[in-house]
């Protein structure tokens, strides 16, 4: 049962091991470590039962008993694929770094040490089931990137690093405050403080405080993604970071923020989510449009991808905040897709930049003439970035738009879909201006080296695999996403929760089974009318984990339900 601890600490162990061996072998140690972690995570994901309990492979131990902080890890439908994305991403990035001058740099040890630590931290943030543990790992995962940027970046790396630190630190501090407050406020008088996420969800945070708590969490997550207008660190940070590091930073770390919404902000603070969701939704839509248009005009290949990430994360946020299982599952799927696509895109930009000596699109062109294999791989990546129908990215966007249409507002979905069209323009523009057209003034086209092509083929194959069978990914996410958004949806309106349950066949069966048991609850609780019917549906369906009282939107204990029925 200690699999998750092994998975979590293996990268860190190899990071330390890398320090101990001679610096020439460090990179191979790191590569072995990353591949081992990847293998382990694949085993764990295969071992996951989609229909099993919500938390699997639980590891639970007291960490700081005085504060009620526990070291609790678990694999869930929410984090499973993101964890796999993280191990894939770090393996990709480490192998890549090992093949570049970074790998033979005299400070190569630092590179791989930081990457290993970062990987452990990301996995920790994903797997943590304790709020404080999550916050700790969330902050820890950023620190190695500060070092990597400051040491190995290019251009104005120090100001860029400082900017990143200031931005993310402010967000993190807000989140820390909010996390502690959530734990304390949720504690009923006389009970021990607990930061266990499920425990807090059971206890419920007082509704009056949920608004500012949600705002704090949202600020931390939105900065991390980043979203307009708090993306000030993005341009400098992305420009300064070495590309192998940037690939994993953009592909994996921003997804932890998405995960944070689904894992923490929404289920723990349903009322706050319901109150403030429009703010986040507007931010997301504005981010999509703004970043897409900027990506359309910038000439820096890297920045095209940077702003495209902002736009894509805007979509993902839309999906999350639709408070519907399809939107949320689409957001998760899209997180995985976007991560994979971004790995490939950044590697392609690196390969192009290597041929050109700059990352300016005006210097590029005609790369495909001498590099047919590269061009084909790149075009697949481009299609994934622009979410062409047939790729899993399209499936993700479809689910997100559907969720937004039904869960938020049709107008929002229509406005957001402008971003889809713009994505086609900027992604193709990147491809055409680099690989097609006349050969550019500076670029010297030549086919990618074997390792470059082999490495680029990895995301391409993943894109194809995801495209052929996206169901694999959303299957596990489905129930978890339902669980995650249900209480918030109920906080918005009881009807919405009932709709969600009506759509979900697995939940429906449970609802019928529990119908009689919970039937009287709504009336007894004084909810009356439509709320009573909603109570029957909602509480019954969610019976396996948490039941939702539609009148309050708060999760209620199952035992309390039956007592209520008795009264």
């Amino acid at each position: 049962m200690y699999h998750l601890s092994v998975l979590l600490w293996l990268p860190a162990a190899f990071a330390v091991l890398g320090l101990l061996v001679p610096s020439r072998t460090t990179r191979w140690v790191a590569v072995v470590g990353a591949l081992l972690t990847l293998a382990l995570s694949v085993v764990l994901v295969l071992d996951f039962e989609a229909t099993g309990p919500a938390l699997q492979h639980v590891t639970d131990a007291t960490w700081i008993s005085a504060l009620g902080v526990r070291y609790e890890l678990a694999l869930t439908g929410l984090n499973m694929w993101l964890a796999l994305l993280a191990t894939v991403g770090f393996a990709f990035s480490i192998v890549w770094a090992a093949m570049t001058p970074l790998g033979v740099d005299r400070r190569a040890k630092h590179v791989f040490f930081h990457l290993g630590i970062a990987q452990s931290a990301v996995l920790g943030a994903l797997l943590a089931q304790d709020l404080i543990l999550f916050v700790a790992f969330f902050d820890l995962m950023l620190i190695p990137f500060f070092f990597l940027t400051a040491q190995f970046g290019n251009g104005d790396r120090v100001p860029a690093t400082i900017k990143m630190i200031v931005y993310t630190l402010v967000g993190s501090l807000l989140m820390l405050v909010a996390a502690i407050a959530v734990g304390v406020l949720a504690t009923p008088p006389g009970a021990e403080v607990s930061y266990n996420i499920q425990e807090i969800a059971q206890r419920g945070v007082p509704e009056g405080s949920q608004g500012w708590l949600f705002a704090c969490f949202a600020a931390a997550f939105l900065v991390k993604m980043p979203q307009f207008p708090i993306h000030g660190w993005l341009a400098d940070g992305y420009k300064a970071m070495p590309l192998p590091v940037l690939a994993v930073f953009s592909g994996v770390l921003s997804k932890v923020a998405v995960y944070g919404f689904l894992q923490i902000a929404i289920p723990l603070l349903p009322q706050g989510t319901a109150d403030l969701r429009w703010v986040v939704l507007i931010i997301a839509v504005v981010s999509i449009l703004y970043a897409s248009t900027v990506a359309l005009t910038t000439f820096n290949a890297r920045m095209v991808l940077a702003y495209s990430s902002v736009a894509q994360l805007g979509f993902i946020t839309l999906g999350v905040m639709s408070l519907r299982p399809d939107g949320a599952a689409g957001a998760l799927l899209q997180s995985v897709n976007h991560g994979v696509a971004v790995f490939g895109a950044f590697l392609a930009v690196a390969i192009l930049g290597h041929r050109t000596g700059s990352e300016d699109l005006r210097d590029m062109g005609g790369a495909a003439t001498k590099a047919p294999v590269f061009a084909v791989l790149f075009v697949v990546v481009t299609y994934a970035v622009l979410a062409m129908p047939g790729t899993a990215n399209f499936v993700g966007e479809f689910l997100i738009l559907r969720g937004t249409w039904e869960g938020s507002a049709p107008a929002l979905a229509i406005v957001a879909s402008i971003g889809v069209a713009l994505a086609a323009v900027y992604a193709l523009r990147l491809f055409i201006r680099s690989s097609h057209n006349r050969v550019g003034p500076v670029i010297q086209p030549r086919e990618g080296a074997r390792w470059e092509l082999a490495l680029l083929a990895v995301p391409v194959l993943l894109i194809i695999a995801l495209a052929v069978h996206p169901q694999q990914t959303v299957e596990a996410a489905d129930q978890a996403a339902t669980r995650s958004v249900l209480s918030a949806a109920a906080a918005v309106s009881p009807d919405r929760a009932r709709d969600i349950l009506a759509d979900d066949p697995s939940a429906q069966a449970a609802a019928e089974a529990a119908q009689s048991a919970a039937g009287g609850t709504g009336a007894a609780g004084g909810a009356g009318g439509a709320g009573a019917a909603g109570g029957a549906d909602a509480s019954g369906a969610a019976g396996a984990e948490t039941a939702i009282d539609p009148a309050t939107g708060q999760p209620v204990d199952q035992t309390a339900q039956t007592e209520g029925a008795g009264r």
Partner: protein, 235 residues
Amino acid sequence: MDEILFFVAGIAAIVAAAGTVLLRNPFYAVLSLVVHLLSLSLLFLLLYAQFVAVVQVMVYVGAVMVLYVFVNAYVGGSEEPRGGSAPTLKMFSYAIAVTLAVTIGIAVLGTGLKAIDGAGPENIPASFGSPANIGELLLTKFLLPFEAASFLLLVAAIGAVVLARRRRGVLTGEERIVSAMDVLAPAGTGSMREGVGAINPNPGARSVRIAPSTGAGAPGESADPPARDTTEGTR
């Protein structure tokens, strides 16, 4: 008898302390401290702390003060120039010192602790403050602090040797001292120094080295020699 001894020793301690602070010549100041310490040990005796008093005399007057005197002689205790570099600071410091004395005095005496007015229990056992008593405590109840203290002394001794030894001939310029922080980052990376451009990331550009003391290699693509430790750079 007690009172007389107390006032003699107490006033001597205070005067000697004042002398230590005010005397311009370091040598006299140290001597004044010796007087202070001796009178303090007398006060210890009055408090039935024989062992502490003896240790006070042996350790301080016997060892520490000798060290002070020798170092003073070695350094060449020049008199401090009149009128320090910051006269306002000096006045301020005195003011603070007086405030502290007054407030601590009020705090201690005005707390309302009844026992302060008394001299403590009259019939204290004969073994109070005896070496046997303290030795037993040190080896039973306070074993861990005792060991820690001895370890601290060991470290301090080694540290003093390392700090004060002559380096010439022992370390050549080629050798470098690797600090623990070097593992995490080259010296100076991400520091404020680097932020203001004191450490030059690009070897091609104009380099402004504010002080040689950090002397870190450029963390970028530079071919500078490996990062150096501060102690080496200071020479």
